[in-house]
Every structure is written in C-alpha cells, then in structure tokens.
C-alpha cells in the first residue's frame, strides 16, 4: 500500500528584489518532485548541500507551504490543508530534526518536551510519555523526566526528540539528517534504534541524509536529488550497485571506503557552478556532466523507468 505519494511538488523562494530591477528571481529549491513511499518502508533522500533536501522534508510536514503540487498521505491530499484540519492531520506526521541541541526548547524539561504533541492534540496521558521514553531506550523514564536538555548528552537528546515524535503514534516520520550532529560512536546506536522502531510500529519514514553509506544502511529505496530535481530513484541496493545517472555515479565514486585495500575509481567532475536560481530549461547537471550531448542543453530529461522500479532523469537512457 502506498502511504506517501508526492506529485509534482514544487517550492520556489523569491529572492530579494534588486533595486531598479523588474524581473523576479526565484530559487527553485524543490522543482517538480514526485515519489511514492510504501507503507512501512524507509526512503532515503540524498544529495549535496543546498540541493533541497530539507525543503522537501519541511514541505512534507507542512512547515512550508508548497508553491504547487500534491502530497497524499493515506490518500488524503494535505498540500492545501489549513487551520483546524491541518492541525488535526499533524497527528499523523512527525519530524525529527538534524540538531538535537536546537530542536529541544532549552527551557523545557524532558516531560514538557515529550508531552507537548499530546497536549496540542488533546491526548495527554502520562503512561504514553513513559512508554515513549522507554521505547527509545531512556530507562528508567523517571530518571530523565525532569531534566533540562542541557543536562542530557547528545545521544540522549536525539532520543528525546525521537520519543517526542513517536509519542502520538504518527504513521509517517520525516527525519532530517538525524545523526549528522552526533558523535561517531553513538551514531550507529541511533540508526539502529530508528530501524528497530520502524519495525516495531510499522512506520513509514523519509530519511534525509547526505551520507550515501548511511542511506544504504537505513533505506529500502533511495532518491538522489540535484538542484531541486530528483535525478534518480529506486531500490537502495540497486542504486548503490548499479547507478545510472552520471551524477549518482560521481557521488558514489567519491564516498571514501573504510578499507585501505579497496581501491576505488574516482570519477572526476567539475565543481558546482550553477545554482537553482531561475535555472534554464536544460539538464541541471549539464555543466558538470562528462557525457553531455546536444539534447541535454535544450531539454530537461524526464524521469523514466529504465529498469524495473529504477527511475532516472537522463538523456543517456530512454
């Protein structure tokens, strides 16, 4: 069953107007993005800094209003929900943020933080708070309930953030780089926790990361983003082992391997030159591509299915 279905999602940010200039400039932060996530699956969203991962995540939890496009969660379009209806629907989607130092109010104790979603939805229940804390491994809960966030370590903080996200039993969780700010030795712990919770509650997850190795470990499917567009998506192992898009290939070839004997072949591509401000019609990757053809300059390639469940947006295929 499809739990999440995103269609033609677009978000433009207007740039501050220049003096005496009449043209409007927009950052195409997310441009015509479509994907589906099956119930109980984790989809990874990977890409370089500034490619629009966080913007996509925030659109899905409706922290930002989409410029256009549809977001179906359990067959209900939430892209245009407002006011009371939106508030009610928020119970179903939760988000885990990148920086656990920042995503917890410094003046709240753990109890207040975890209780907040329940209070907002009118479902306050002490037992649920205890359960949530236990489930994320903060045992015994009594020991943590009355602590301020600065009295917790980084890993514990992120656990509190996860408990807060899960306490109202969401069906869809968006995690924006949830481990990139954590110490190396606790990172694996939090990743494993997320995997266990996914299994336990049959959660559907959008997992944003810039680390392909982490994406491979966590995700069932992966979508690769480049300057606001999804350039390739499909089964995780398939993307890692058999990438099609030149950008994905370059990205994968640049990941260092924790094994001194493994020799990897570097694919050399240039540094990023263009950004997503009023991009021309051509392929966004055009300047950096080693395989560019004439047509790439004229037309943006459609995302097509090149093999089963493997989609790529490149003129080399199809």
């Amino acid at each position: 069953m499809e739990m999440v279905n995103v269609e033609h999602l677009t978000k433009l940010f207007p740039l501050r107007k220049r003096l005496f200039s009449r043209e409007k400039h927009y950052v195409y932060a997310v441009d015509d993005v479509s994907f589906k996530i099956e119930k109980g699956k984790i989809m990874g969203l990977v890409g370089e800094s500034g490619c629009g991962k966080t913007t996509t995540a925030k659109l899905l939890v409706r922290l930002l209003d989409p410029t256009s496009g549809n977001i179906y969660i359990k067959n209900e379009n939430i892209a245009d929900l407002r006011g009371k209806e939106l508030k009610k629907f928020r119970k179903n989607i939760q988000m885990i943020f990148q920086d656990p130092y920042e995503s917890l109010n410094p003046r709240f104790i753990v109890h207040d933080t975890v209780a907040e979603p329940l209070i907002a939805q009118g479902l306050y229940n002490t037992e649920k708070i205890y359960n949530a804390l236990e489930v994320v491994g903060l045992k015994p809960p009594e020991e943590f309930l009355f602590r301020y966030s600065h009295e917790l370590s980084g890993g514990q903080r992120q656990r509190v953030a996860i408990a807060r996200a899960l306490v109202i039993d969401p069906i869809f969780v968006v995690a924006d780089e949830p481990t990139s700010m954590l110490d190396v030795s606790i990172r694996a712990d939090v990743l494993n926790l997320l995997l266990a919770l996914r299994k336990k509650f049959d959660l559907t997850v959008l997992f944003v990361t810039h680390d392909l190795a982490v994406a491979r470990y966590m995700c069932d499917s992966i979508a690769v983003m480049y300057l606001g567009k999804i350039v390739e998506r499909g089964n995780a192992e398939e993307i890692i082992k058999n990438p099609k898009h030149p950008y994905t290939k370059a990205l994968l070839s640049a990941v260092p391997i924790p094994n001194p004997k493994a020799k990897r072949k570097r694919i050399k591509i240039g540094e990023r030159v263009s950004d997503a401000v009023n991009p021309p019609e051509r392929c966004r990757f055009y300047e950096r591509c080693n395989y560019k053809k004439d047509i790439c300059k004229r037309k943006y390639p459609k995302l097509i299915e090149c093999c089963k469940d493997h989609f790529v947006a490149c003129h080399l295929y199809g």
Binding site: V184, S185, R187, A188, Y217, I257, E271, R272
Partner: protein
C-alpha cells in the same frame, strides 16, 4: 628512515572554572620522515589539542604538564614564543579546523596569503606574490583567482586556498585538522586527493586529523586511534584494518556503514564518551568496554609495542 617527530608521555590540560580538562594524556608516538599519520577519534577527544601542542599554539588556559615533543631531535616544549615562531610554518605548519570559514571577508584572498607569508619570511611583496601564484597552481587554483574575495570562492576553492597558505613556507611537517569536514562528498574527495598528491610530490610528513576512519584509511599509511585524550592504538593502516586489537578500535570500525561489500549490521559502542573534566580512573574506555576487568578500573594501561610497529594501550590484549 629518520624520525621527524617524537612525542614522549605528553600531558596537557585546560584550566577551567570547573577544574582541569585533561585533553591530552600520556600520549607517545613517533612519525618518520615522509610518512602520513592519521589521527582519528570522536569529537572532543583531544585531536585538535594534540595538534596545537605540536604547533605550540595553545590558548592562555592550557598547560603542558609533562612530556617532550621532539621535532627533528629538538625538544620544543621549553622553547620560547620567539624561537617557536621560526619553527612554525617552515618546520611545522597547520591547516586549521574550519579555517576556510575564517578568511577575512573584506580582503582579497591572494593578499591575505601574501601578508601571511610576509610575516614569516623576509621577502618583498613582489616575491611573495610570485610565490602565491606558484602555490595556487600547485593546489589546483587559477592564479587569476587571487584577486577575488572569499565569498566569490566555493567551499572547495576556499579550502584549496587555505592549503596553499599552509604550504607557503615549504614546511617539512604539516598538520591537517579536519580539512574536509564541512564539505560535500565530491569536493571532499577532490581535496583529499589533492592533499595526498601534494604530500607525495613535496615529500612532506603529514598528520591528518579526522573523525572519519574511512577518510583516514584512504589518506594515511599509519593510524593513531584517540579516545578521551589517550592514543590507544597506533600502527600501520593495513595492520590496523587487518588486525585491530583495542576494543575501541574494533567498535569504531564496526560502527561505520560502507557502500562496499555486503550490508552488515552496525554494532554501536555502548554508552557515551566520557567527560574529560573528570575522566574515569584507570583505563578511560573501561565504562564502555565489554571486556573490562577489575584491573582496567584501577590502572591506566601502558602504551606498549606489542608487535613490531604496533602500539597498544590495553590490559586485556597484553
């Protein structure tokens, strides 16, 4: 091969209101000419502090309590600031953590490097400029870029400029402190490639600091694993990966996902890194160690050569 740097039982603390932070404790190791040593460890374990000890660029509240730092056979610990200034840059130079974000935004990048050279070398502005041009070519930047301001550089170009600055006085020994941490994978890969090539080409000795063991695995021929102010294991990269002995090293290796090989489950290190303000008595890793015994609680293990060129600090293995 000659030894270029030898550190003996180095101990350094920061004095703070709350007490002494023992950031480097009982560290001993040797680096031969032409080698590249990787220093890997989690955030806050004292990697930068160790680098700063070697540069003798310590903040006011830091004290070297004990130990020797022999650079080219000379102990630099008792040296005055005046004498150190001669050794710095020409002898040892450092690529500082996050230096690429510390470039002064209102001066041209080229001028900043020229000025840095002139404070250390008694040469004319013209000579300095020629030198910077050469350096720019060396690190893969076009010399025309010298007249640009930092914000006109991309992240990777800024890091290249910083590397050029560190190489300005032909140092024999260079410390690179997390030179790629803030960069995207593709750019990170290019910078790593550049650093490795430069090190070989200029026959420099290098100490590469990183929290990412896979980056170290690709750049260095020796690895020192640091935990809570101690170096716990030090040997050749290939030896370490084939035969890791310290429990922390093992744990660290199995907590990194990889895009190579079959998908393995991550085994996190239990617990949290210790607070260096009051480090545990005895072995600093024992609270998280699954092999811990009575003796580990009481005595800090000695750092000994357990096989040729394989140093280790652990009660269990010996």
């Amino acid at each position: 091969m000659d030894t270029i740097l030898e550190i003996e039982e180095l101990e350094m603390s920061y004095q703070t209101i709350k007490g002494f932070v023992s950031a480097v404790d009982n560290v001993s190791f040797k680096i031969m000419k032409g080698e590249s040593m990787g220093l890997v460890g989690e955030s806050g374990c004292g990697k930068t502090s160790l680098g700063m000890c070697i540069m003798k660029l310590l903040p006011e509240n830091a004290r070297i309590m004990n130990g020797k730092i022999l650079f080219d056979g000379e102990d630099i610990v008792p040296k005055t600031e005046e004498e150190m200034r001669k050794i710095r840059w020409k002898g040892v130079s450092m690529i500082f953590q996050a230096a690429m974000n510390a470039l002064n935004p209102v001066y041209r990048v080229g001028d900043q490097i020229i000025e840095a050279i002139q404070t250390h070398d008694n040469i004319s502005k013209e000579e300095a400029r020629e030198k910077v041009e050469k350096l720019y070519e060396l690190v893969g930047l076009s010399p025309e870029r010298m007249k640009n301001y930092p914000h006109e550089y991309s992240g990777g170009m800024r890091q290249r400029a910083i590397i050029a600055m560190a190489l300005a006085c032909d140092p024999k020994f260079i410390i690179a402190d997390e030179p790629t941490t803030a960069l995207d994978v593709i750019v990170q890969d290019q910078i790593i490639d550049e650093i490795v090539n430069l090190q070989k080409k200029l026959n420099m000795t290098m100490m590469y600091i990183s929290h990412d063991i896979s980056v170290i695995a690709e750049t260095c021929n020796k690895i020192g694993v640091m935990y809570a102010g101690n170096i716990v294991e030090y040997t050749y990269t290939s030896t370490l990966f084939d035969n890791p002995l310290h429990p922390y090293t093992k744990a660290l290796m199995s907590s990194f996902p990889s895009i190579e090989g079959p998908k393995k489950e991550l085994k996190p290190v239990p617990g949290e890194p210790p607070n260096l303000l009051n480090p545990p008595e005895g072995c600093r890793f024992y609270p998280r160690c699954s092999y811990a015994e009575e003796i580990c609680k009481k005595e800090n293990p000695e750092f000994v050569e357990i096989e040729k060129d394989h140093f280790l600090a652990c009660h269990k293995v010996i």
